[in-house]
């Protein structure tokens, strides 16, 4: 009834409120996750709007002393609405698009490898020469011109460090991380099966995920329980430690790092991105007051990239303001959704600050 959860599981809840206390949407939207858990437990949750406010940051689930997984309660409510067919129209499009074109934006599946055009060298298909390292592009990096730089940069780094790798190109389909969080379990399963079949067919031994969302899906949600997935920041730190990346320049800027929820609090990868940044000559790393486990969600997860909700100030704005107050010149992050949301916020606020993906910072000195 509730996706992965059963109602009985919720009896353990002691209504302590740690979930609501840690929720980045509490107070600014009408989402009160503690109340939601209570009402769902008693079977009297009816609202069809509030479950869409959750941005799937996972803070409630991590903090819950009784291991209730409140964020999965949200997914369960969404799954019911999906099965009933009653979902917001913009999500309808995103899901239909993913079904047809294998990406939520509805761009042509046949153009999924278009980003490779400008890298300056041939990127082989994973099936060639029994390459075992897969660079998994996923949707936003494959189609959004702003985010296309991420796969291009990683490809260039791998090329320069002489790491053999391949891509799935047009055979790749959306990782499904957001699809699952929107509650479309059937579609998620379909996507997972298609990707896993390819991982197996091409004997992939390592997957480099560009987005923390993809990495999370591969590691924690694919049935194969794919432990071979790493985030690109982990790979970069490896290469730096092995001395395989030679820095040529210096990046003399004050950089504050924003922890993406799916990389940090949900998967415990806090240090590698920081180590990569610290290794860059000249770079002065700064910290937000809310960082690591307490990092403030950019609100791009849980389908919120496809769905705008009524709310108070966007968290992205809060983030940009704090970065300015810290005196940072650059906000660096390692997730395409964070990148887009923070950059949007900086543009709306007319803030004199750059928002960069870690690979973009790195490319400045390679």
């Amino acid at each position: 009834m509730l996706g992965l959860l059963k109602r009985e599981d919720l009896f353990a809840c002691i209504q302590c409120g740690k979930c609501t206390g840690s929720c980045p949407e509490a107070g600014k939207t009408s989402l009160n996750i503690r109340v939601m858990v209570r009402k769902v437990l008693f079977g009297d949750w009816e609202d069809k709007e509030v479950p869409w406010f959750c941005s799937s940051c996972g803070a409630c689930t991590i903090r819950c002393p009784r291991d209730i997984k409140p964020s999965e309660v949200v997914v369960g409510l969404r799954a019911q609405m999906v099965e009933e067919g009653e979902i917001p129209s913009s999500l309808y499009r995103a899901l239909e698009n993913t079904l047809v074109q294998k990406n939520p934006w509805g761009r042509s599946r046949n153009k999924r490898d278009a980003w490779t055009a400008e890298v300056g060298f041939e990127i082989p298909f994973i099936g060639e020469d029994t390459l075992e390292t897969l660079l998994f592009t996923c949707c936003v990096q494959a189609y959004d011109p702003r985010c296309m730089v991420i796969p291009r940069n990683i490809a260039k780094v791998l090329h320069a460090a002489q790491v053999p790798f391949g891509i799935l190109g047009r055979k790749e389909v959306c990782c499904g991380n957001e699809i699952r969080r929107v509650g479309e379990f059937g579609l998620f399963k379909q996507l997972m099966e298609e990707n896993e079949a390819n991982f197996e067919r091409y004997q992939v031994s390592r997957i480099i995920a560009l987005s923390p969302h993809c990495m999370n899906a591969f590691k924690n949600e694919y049935e194969g329980g794919d432990k071979k997935a790493v985030h690109y920041t982990q790979l970069l730190w490896e290469l730096i430690q092995e001395g395989r990346l030679i820095f040529k320049g210096s990046y003399d800027k004050r950089v504050v790092y924003h922890d993406p929820c799916f990389l940090g609090k949900q998967n415990g990868i806090f240090d590698e991105p920081r180590e990569v940044l610290k290794a860059i000559p000249g770079l002065q790393l700064m910290e937000f007051s809310r960082s690591r486990e307490n990092s403030l969600c950019c609100e791009g997860g849980g389908g919120r990239m496809f769905l705008d909700v009524e709310m108070g100030e966007r968290n992205g704005h809060k983030r940009v303001k704090e970065a300015l107050a810290l005196g940072a010149q650059v906000i660096a992050t390692a997730c395409p959704f964070c990148l887009l949301n923070l950059e949007d916020a900086a543009a709306v606020l007319d803030a004199d600050i750059e928002v960069r993906d870690i690979t973009e910072v790195l490319m400045e000195v390679l």
Partner: protein, 315 residues
């Protein structure tokens, strides 16, 4: 003698411009043209066709496929059977043409946008797959068909000046199974997009309702009016009255500034006569670039943000 019968559309008594395309196509094919119309005054047609046949029907009775088929049966008796029945491709043409084809057992080609004659005989061109393909169609059993003709694609054959005869169509008994009740106007709101000099128009690329205010601000800063394409109005992100296109308003501003509009024909038809069209789309192969005078390949949100910044600076 063979001829083409053009069933013309009037709305609220007004002869519609789209009727000229079937007329010009008829001239290009080389058939005498008879125009069938509801009650009214059609002096403007003098010289442009061979016969004006006025049916003893009110507009609401005439714009009805069930009455048209009865009228055709009587008209054929009086004037002979035509080789082609042509209509404008519009809400009237598409209502009547298929029904007539079904009743008569004739082939139908809709939205005709080209014609040529060669070794293969007469070829009618119609676009397929959202304008990406031209299909060349041939009538298997010779020239006898029903067609609707796209607006604004056939030029007037310059030298044609005809002696126009005005005739009356025989009366018919109306089919009781379909009745026109009334016209309903879209509610008029404060802005009239048809009167603006500058339209800032957003399409599917706007992605979500929450992005609309950004473009409202852009339009306001430029002193223009915000309009949209059909998908935006369909999702009620902007009122229907702001919709440009065949099913919305036809506009002719001095500048039509289209952002994130791919350029579906339905939309193009509503704005192609603008003095200047500037299109912004991140897909360089978007069809709208074929109609625009100026094109910018860019993400509409990024561009709008930047424009707003610049405009604010100037103020």
């Amino acid at each position: 003698m063979s001829y083409s019968l053009i069933i013309a559309e009037t709305r609220k008594g007004e002869f519609q411009e789209g009727n000229f395309d079937p007329l010009y196509l008829s001239d290009i094919v080389g058939l005498p043209s008879y125009i069938l119309l509801p009650e009214g005054e059609y002096g403007i047609l003098r010289g442009s066709c061979d016969k004006v046949i006025v049916a003893p029907l009110k507009e609401g009775e005439f714009l009805n496929p069930l009455n048209i088929i009865r009228l055709l049966e009587r008209t054929f008796q009086a004037f002979g059977e035509p080789s082609a029945i042509l209509l404008p491709h519009c809400s009237f043409g598409i209502d009547v043409a298929p029904y007539v084809a079904g009743r008569l057992g004739w082939p139908i080609i809709t939205d005709i946008s080209g014609f040529c004659r060669g070794e293969e005989g007469e070829i009618f061109i119609k676009t397929l797959y959202s304008e990406k393909i031209n299909g060349h169609f041939r009538l298997k059993e010779g020239m006898r068909f029903v067609g609707t003709v796209r607006k604004g694609v056939f030029p007037k054959v310059a030298e044609v000046v005809k002696e126009t005869l005005f005739e009356e169509a025989p009366s018919i008994e109306k089919d009781p199974r379909r009745d026109f009740i009334e016209y309903i106007e879209e509610e008029i709101e404060d802005v009239d997009i048809t009167k603006a000099d500058l339209l800032v128009s957003v399409g599917r690329g706007v992605k979500e309702k929450g992005n609309i205010p950004l473009f409202e601000e852009l339009a306001a800063l430029l002193g223009g009016v915000l309009s949209c394409s059909r998908p935006v109005a369909d999702r009620a992100w902007l009122p229907k009255a702001r919709q440009v296109g065949t099913s919305g308003k036809t506009v002719r501003p001095k500048v039509y500034f289209a952002l994130g509009i791919s350029g579906a024909f339905q939309h193009i038809a509503g704005m192609k006569d603008s003095d200047v069209i500037i299109a912004v789309n991140k897909d360089p192969s978007a069809p709208i670039f074929q109609y625009a005078h100026y094109g910018v390949v860019e993400d509409m949100h990024r561009l709008a943000q930047k424009m707003i910044e610049n405009l604010r600076d100037q103020k």
